[in-house]
Symmetry: none
Subunit: 401 residues, 2 copies
C-alpha cells in the first residue's frame, strides 16, 4: 500500500488533522445502557458525524487489543503486524533520547529488593521524579562498562531509559522483571546468538547498579524491560509527502510520532494548550496528529463518569480545530479502553471523517459505537485510515489510465 501511495501521491496545500482520543471506544456499564461516548453530550462531534461519515476502526486485526505502539502505527498507516516497535525505543524517543542503528534502548524501573535480593516493590514506592533524577545521576557517575557507550536518562517516577550504543548489539534479550513481588529479579538472557553481547553488558550493568544503589531507600535496585532496537521505518513525509506535526503531552506518543518522522511541537500540558499549538503551527505543516490521553486514563481507572466527562471536555475543543478549516479532520482512537474492563480492549473504535469538499455523507447523525455501525466507512483496519485521509484531502491521483 505504501508503494501505491508513493506512486499516486500528489502534493497540494490541503491540511489533514488526526485527533486521536486514546482508548476512545467503550462498553455499556450496565446491560442495555450507553457506552461512554454514547452517554457523553458531544454536540460538536455529532455535527461532524452528521455532515461527514463514520465507521469503526479495527486497530490491528479482529480480536486483537493493541498497546499504544501498534495502535498508533496503525493510525499512521503502518501495518502494526509488520512494524514491531519495542517499548524501550518508544520510551527513549518519548523523552528525546535518540536511538540509532547501533543502539539498544531499554526501559529501566527502579525497584526495592530485600537482603536476599527478593523484589518487595516493583516500582520502589513510586518514588518522585526528583529522586529518580538523583539516582540516575549516581548510576551515570558509577557505571563503567568496556566496549559500549552507556546513556541513562530519568523518565518519571521510578522509570528510566538505558541506551547501549556499540557494534553487534541485538535486542533479543528477556526482561529481568519477575512480574511479581516475592521473587528474585531475573538475569538478562539472550534469546539468540546475536544478542549475547547485549545480555552480557546488561548483566554487568545490573551488577554494578546493585552495588551503587545498595544503600538507597526505597529504590535500591532496578529491572530492565523492553530491550529494543530502532526499527527501519519510512517517515510520513517519505510515504505520504506530508510535513507532519505531533501535538502530544505524553512522552510515549511523542516518541511514536518521532518514529515515523513527525516533528514534535511542544504543546504545554492541557488540551487547550494543544489547540493553541495547532493554531500556532497551522501554516508550517500538512498533517497534525493531536493526542488526547484522558479518554484512555479514565477508562483504565474504570471511571465511566470521568471518561464521559473527558469526552465532553474534548468535544468542547472541537470548534477550535474546525475554525482552522482543515480539509480533512479525522477523529478516532488507537484502541478501545472500556471503563468496564479497565484495560485496552479489542473492540473496534468509533471513527469519523470530516471533509467538507469530498466526503460522501451517510445517514448517521451522532458519534457513538452503535451509530457508527451504520456509517459509510464500515468497519475498517486502522491502517486504511491514512489512505482514506489522503484521498479525502485530494492528495492521491487516479490509479491507472
Amino acid at each position: 500500500m505504501h508503494d501505491l501511495i508513493r506512486q499516486l501521491r500528489e502534493d497540494n496545500k490541503t491540511k489533514i488533522v488526526m485527533l486521536v482520543a486514546d482508548g476512545l471506544g467503550g462498553l455499556p456499564i450496565e446491560p442495555g445502557g450507553p457506552t461512554e461516548l454514547e452517554a457523553a453530550k458531544t454536540p460538536n462531534l455529532d455535527k461532524l458525524a452528521a455532515e461527514g461519515t463514520v465507521g469503526l476502526s479495527i486497530p490491528v486485526a479482529p480480536g486483537i487489543a493493541p498497546g499504544s505502539g501498534p495502535g498508533h502505527l496503525g493510525l499512521f498507516g503502518y501495518d502494526p503486524l509488520v512494524h514491531d516497535i519495542g517499548r524501550g525505543v518508544l520510551e527513549a524517543l518519548g523523552i528525546g533520547v535518540e536511538v540509532g542503528p547501533y543502539d539498544v534502548a531499554i526501559r529501566g524501573n527502579f525497584c526495592t529488593i530485600d537482603g536476599d535480593g527478593i523484589v518487595t516493590d516493583r516500582r520502589a514506592g513510586r518514588i518522585p521524579t526528583e529522586t529518580c533524577v538523583k539516582l540516575v545521576e549516581l548510576l551515570r557517575a558509577g557505571v563503567k562498562i568496556e566496549g559500549v557507550e552507556t546513556l541513562i536518562e530519568a523518565v518519571r517516577e521510578y522509570r528510566m531509559v538505558i541506551r547501549f550504543r556499540g557494534e553487534g548489539l541485538g535486542d533479543d534479550v528477556a526482561d529481568t522483571d519477575p512480574l511479581s513481588t516475592g521473587l528474585h529479579t531475573l538475569q538478562p538472557k539472550a534469546g539468540s546468538a546475536g544478542s549475547e553481547k547485549t545480555a552480557r553488558i546488561a548483566a554487568e550493568f545490573l551488577r554494578q547498579a546493585k552495588e551503587i544503589l545498595k544503600d538507597q531507600t526505597p529504590a535500591n535496585f532496578l529491572m530492565m524491560r523492553g530491550f529494543a532496537k530502532f526499527p527501519n521505518i519510512a517517515t510520513m513525509e517519505e510515504v505520504y509527502g506530508l510535513r507532519s506535526a505531533a501535538i502530544a503531552v505524553y512522552p510515549m506518543y511523542r516518541g511514536l510520532a518521532k518514529l515515523v518522522g513527525m516533528t514534535v511541537v511542544e504543546p504545554g500540558n492541557t488540551v487547550a494548550d494543544q489547540m493553541d499549538a495547532l493554531k500556532a503551527n497551522w501554516d508550517k505543516f500538512d498533517f497534525f496528529f493531536i493526542h488526547y490521553k484522558y479518554t484512555d486514563s479514565t477508562g483504565e481507572d474504570g471511571n465511566f463518569a470521568k471518561k464521559v466527562e473527558m469526552i465532553e471536555a474534548l468535544d468542547v475543543e472541537i470548534p477550535k480545530i474546525t475554525a482552522l478549516k482543515p480539509d480533512v479532520l479525522i477523529v478516532t482512537g488507537d484502541h478501545s479502553t472500556p471503563s468496564r474492563m479497565k484495560s485496552h480492549s479489542f473492540h473496534p473504535v468509533p471513527l469519523l471523517i470530516s471533509a467538507p469538499a469530498t466526503v460522501r455523507p451517510d445517514f448517521v447523525t451522532t458519534f457513538g459505537e452503535r451509530p457508527c455501525l451504520a456509517g459509510g466507512l464500515g468497519q475498517i483496519l486502522a491502517k486504511t485510515i491514512m489512505p482514506l485521509a489522503m484521498a479525502h484531502a485530494g492528495r492521491l491521483q487516479k490509479f491507472g489510465a
Copy 2:
C-alpha cells in the same frame, strides 16, 4: 494470525461453546418472504442476539459455497484456502480410521454396472449398511496388492473408506466416478509424477474388486473418490491452548474435529443427547464444538417448512447451553443451505456471539439474515471468528506495548 495467537494467548478458565447449525443460512422461498431462520420462532436465539452481538460469516471468500471441510475449518480458525483437506481423509477420520503421513485415504462408493461396465446406479440402490459390511469383508479377504498395506472399512449404506499405507504415495489422483449413469467408470489417473504409484495401486485394487464383486447384486463394483493424504495442521490446543471437545452425531464432523485435534465425545443420536454430553463433559474441556446436522439436511431436501422446524427444535435446546454459563457462546453455520436451492450456497451465514462479560451489544434484537446485517460484527470471514471468540473469552493478551 495463528502465530500471533500463539504469542498472545493466555490460558484461563473461561469456556467457549461453538454451536454450528449446519447450512443455517437460507433464502426466502417466495419474494418478500422470510428466510427459514427469519420464519422460525426462536425466542432463545433472539434473546442471545439482543444481549450479544451479531453479524454474518463468509465461510471462505465472497461468492464461494464451501463443502463441509472448508466450512468447518474456517469456523475453527484455519484458512480453508491454505488448508486443503481431502474428502477421503475426512471420511476415514469420521469412522475412526487413522490416517498418518504414509497414508492415502479414499472414499469408495459401491455402484452397479451392466455387462459392458456401464454405470447404471452410482449408489448401488443405496444398499443397507449390513450389505456394505458384508461386501467390505469380501474385498478384505480377496484383494492382495504387493508393496502396500491396504485397509478397507464400511461407512454406511454404499460408502466405504479405503486406505493405502506405504512409501511414496501421493494423493493427486483423479476420481473414478463418471458423475453420471450411462458412462464407464474412469481409470484412477495420476495428476503428477509423485502420485503414479498410488494410481497404479488403485487400478490394481479396482481390477481385483471387479472380479471379487462380479456376482453380487446390486453392488457389483465400486468407484473411488477424494484421494487424500493427511494434512499437516496444528491442533486447536497448539494454536489456541484450548482443550477442545467435539459433540457431533455424524462421522464427517467428528472427522473434521479430529483433524484439528479435538477429542470426540460420544453424543448419542439426538440433539438432546448432545446437550447431555455437553453438560457431562463441561469440566473437562475449554472449547466445545456442537454440530447440528438437520438445518443442512432439510435444506438439501428443499423442505423449507422442515428446516424452519429444525431451527425451532434447536432453539428449544439453547437454554441447556446457557444454563452452563459459557463465557462465550457462538451460534452460526458452516455455510448456507437455502431450501430454495437444495444445496450449499455462497451466502453469508448468520453469526451470533454471546459473551456477557465482554461483548459490545449492537441494536439488533432478533437472529436472522437481514437483522444480522445491522449487527456489530459486520460481515467477516469465518476464520476470524475464533480470534474474536478468544478475545471475548479474555484469552488474548494485549499486542505490543
